[in-house]
Amino acid sequence: MDANDSPPARLGRFVEAFGSVTEAAASAREPHWMLAIRKAGLARFADQGLPTLRHEDWRFTNLAPIEALPFRPLPRPEPRAVTVADLDRLPLAGMSGLRLVFVDGHFEPELSRIEALGEQIQVCSLSQTLRTDGAWLEQQLASWHEGQDRAFRALNDAYCTDGMVLRVPAGVAVAEPIHAVFLSSGSEAGLASHPRNVLVAEANSQVTVVEQYASLGGAATFTNTLTQLVAGEGAQVEHVRFQDEGPEAFHMGALRAVAAGSAQLAAHSFALGARLSRQNIGLTLAGPGLEAILNGLYVTTEKRLADHHMVVDHAQPHCASHEYFNGILSGQSRGVFHGRILVRPGAQKTDAKQTNKNLLLSSSASVNTKPQLEIYADDVKCTHGATIGQLNPESVFYLRARGLPIETARRMLIHAFAGEIIDRVRCGPIRQALDRLVWDRLERDAQVRLDASRPHD
C-alpha cells in the first residue's frame, strides 16, 4: 500500500533543514561520497515521507506527533552545559571500561573515557573515522541493504552527524563492555539527533557493546538512531540497547545486523522511556550454523507507547534464532510487537522460536501483537507464541497460601516476569545494573505496588 497519501508539502520541514547540513559538511571537509549518501537519503525520504497508519508495518503506531514537531537537526555541536556529574547520575554510570559520550548527536571527547584497547581495536567516533579511515567506512555504509525502516533510515542517511565506530579485528576478544551514551540535552522541542553507529566484529572476535539513550531535560526531542552491526564468522557479539529517554521524547531506533556462519549474536533491547518509541530490529543470518538471541523488555506507563518491530531472516541452513519479548504495561500505555521469522528456501534445519508475553496491569492499557512465521523450507522447527493477560491468579494464590501478603506476591511475580528477560544478558555488570533499575522503576509504578487495595479478580 502506498504510505504516502498526502502531498509532500507536509514534509517540507524535514527537507528545508538540509541546507545547514551540507554547509556543515562542507566546512568539516566531509568526503564527497558522504554528501552523495546524504543527498540520496534526502531524496528517498522526500519521495516516501513518514509512514502512516495505513502502512501495514505501522498500523498501530501513529507518527503524527513526530510530524507535528518542529524539526531541528543540529549539524554542528553547540556548547551544552553537560558535565561529568550529569553523566554520573545516569544508570550504568558505574561501569568501568570505555565510554563514548554523544550529546545531541555530537561526540564529546571531554566527557568520554577512551583508553587504548590495544593496537588493533578501533573505537572512535564516526566523524573522526570519516577523516582517518574514509575508504573503509564508505564500504561499510554503502554495503547496507534496505530494511523495513526505510523512511527513518533515509532520514538518518541525510542528517546523521556522528556515532560510534567499532572495529574488532579477527580473533581479538575485548574484555570489557564498550559503552556508548547518547544524551539529549532536552532543552528545545523538536531537537533532532541522528546517531549512526557502525559496529564490525571480524571473524572469531568477541565484544560486548551497550548503547544507552537518555535525556537530561524534559523536552519533546526526537532521536532517530541507526546501528549497523556485522558479526564475522565465529564472532561472539552481545549488543544491548537501553532506551531510557525523557517522558516527552520520541525515539526511533534501528538495529540492522548481519551475522556470518557459526557466529553467536545476542541483541537485547530495553525500552523503558520515551513517549513513543520504536525499535526496528532486522537480523540476517547469512551463514550456516549460527545462533542468535533477540531479547527485549518494554515497560510502559501513563500514555506511552513502546513498539518493537523485528524481522529475522534465516537465509542459511542449520541456524537457530530465539526471540523473547516481554512487556509490562500500566496506565493507558500501549505495547506493540511485530515479529516475523522468514525462513528462505534452502534454510533447512532451522530452529526458530519466538515468544511475546504481555502483562497488563491496568484496565486501560492495551497490546497489539503480531508474531508471524513465513516459511519456505520443509525441514524446520519453528514455533511462536504470544500471551496477554493479568497476573495469573493461581500463582498469586500459591504465594499467598505461603503467607505472603498479596502486594508482595504481585511484586514478586512482576519482577520475575521482567527477570526472565534481564537474566539473558550475559555481561554481569550490565545485567545487575539493569536489574536494579527495572526493579526501582517498577516499584515507582503505582499499579505495581497497589491494586492490592482493590479486591483481586
Binding site: P345, P371, E374, I375, D378, D379, H384
Partner: protein, 481 residues
Amino acid sequence: MSTPQSTIDQFVQSDYKYGFVSDIETEALPPGLDEEVIRTISAKKGEPEFLLQWRLRSYRHWLTMTEPSWPKATYPPIDYQKIIYYAAPKPKARLESLDEVDPELRRTFDKLGISLDEQKRLTGVAVDAVMDSVSVATTFRKELAKHGIVFCSFSDAVREHPDLVEKYLGTVVPYTDNFFAALNSAVFSDGSFCYVPKGVLCPMELSTYFRINTANTGQFERTLLVADEGSYVSYLEGCTAPMRDENQLHAAVVELIALGSAEIKYSTVQNWYPGDKDGKGGIYNFVTKRGLCRGRGSKISWTQVETGSAITWKYPGCVLLGDDSVGEFYSVALTNHRQQADTGTKMIHVGKNTRSTIVSKGISAGRGQNSYRGLVQMRPTATGARNFSQCDSLLIGDQCGAHTFPYIEVKNPTAQIEHEASTSKIGEDQIFYCNQRGLSKQDAVNLIVNGFCKEVFRELPMEFAVEAQKLLGVSLEGSVG
C-alpha cells in the same frame, strides 16, 4: 528426508474427480456489470424494491473501493467486466415436486454424490442444491416445515419471508465490509436461507451444495442463517466446479446470527477445482463468512476443510456480542500444486466472559503456499474474555511455504489470550516408527496427516469427517517417498 521425484510427480498428478461439465441448457446474461445488470438480476428474481435499492447501494459503494492487496497470494488482475454475473439452468415450469427436476441436473448431482431424491437418501440430510447462480432444488422442505424451520433458496425466502430477509440481511456482513462482500451484495443471485424458530432443535443436518457449471461465470451466492433463541442447527456446505483453463471467481457471503442460547454449527468441505499442476485455471475463492453471537450464551462454531480452489481468501469469523457467548474455529487447509490459501479467522470479543477457540492446521505440499491470518480482538468491554489459538503447519516437500500471521489486539486486562503456532514436517523417525510396525510409507503418511488433523475432523459431522479424511488421503497420495 529424501523425496524421490517419481512419487512427487505421482502426487502432483493426482486427479480432480469433479472436473466434468454437464450439458444443461442455461440462460445467461452477457458478461459485464453495470446498474442495468443489477436491475435485470433483481427483476428476473421478482425482488421487492428494498432489495433492489440495497443492491444498488452496494454497487455504488463497490465502485469506490479497491481490491485488497494485503493477502499473501499473487494472481493476475481480475477484469470484472468479463465475468458473467448471472447464469441459470433454464427454468422449466415452476416445480411442484422434486420429481420434476431436470433429469440432467439430477444426474449431475447424483454424479457428485448428492442425491436430490429424498427416498434414496440414507441419512437425514436436507440439501439445497445451487447450480451456477440459482438454487435448483431443496429437499425435505415439508418435513422441516413441520418444525417451523424455514429452509429454502434465497430467492424463495425473498418471496415468502421478505420480513425476515429484510430484518437480517447485511446485519452481520454489511455491504461496506470489504471489496468482495460489496460486489456480492450487488450481484448475488441465490443461495440458501434458513430460519430456526425459538427453542427448536433442528432434527436433521441442513446442507447446501454449490456447483459452478457454466464457463466464465462468477458465482455469487449468499447464505443467511438465523437461529432464534434456544435453537440448534448444524449446517454443511460443499462445493465443486469443472476443470477449466480460465480462472473463475467465487465471491460468496455467509451470515450467521445466533440469538440467546442458540447454537449454530457450520461445516464446510471446500473442493472447488484447484487448477492443474502448473497453476492454470482453478477457482478464486474470495469469501466473506461471519457469525454474530447476538444473544447471551449463544455459540457459533465454524469447521472448514479447504482442499480446493486456486486461491482461497477466507476468514470465517465470530462477533461475540452477547455475554458468555462462544466462538469456535476449526480448520484444515491443504495446498498442493500451485494453490495459494490465505485463510484464518476473526474473533471479535465484545461481551463479558466470551470465549473463543481457534485450531488451524495447514498442510502445504508441492509448490503450495499456505497462510494462516487471524485476528483476535478484545474490546474494552470484554471483561473476563478468553481465547486460545493454535495453528500448526505441516510441510511436505521443500518447495512449499507455510506462513502464520496472527493479529492480537487486547484492550481489556482481564482478557486472557494464548497463541501458539508450530511448523514441522513429517519426521523421518515417525515414518520409521510406522515402518517398523509394518505400515507402508504411504499409510504412515496418511496416518500422521490424519492424526495431525484429528482435532478438526472430530468437529465435523460423521459423513463429512469420513469424506474429508478420504479427500486428504487422495490428495496426499505419493507425497512422501
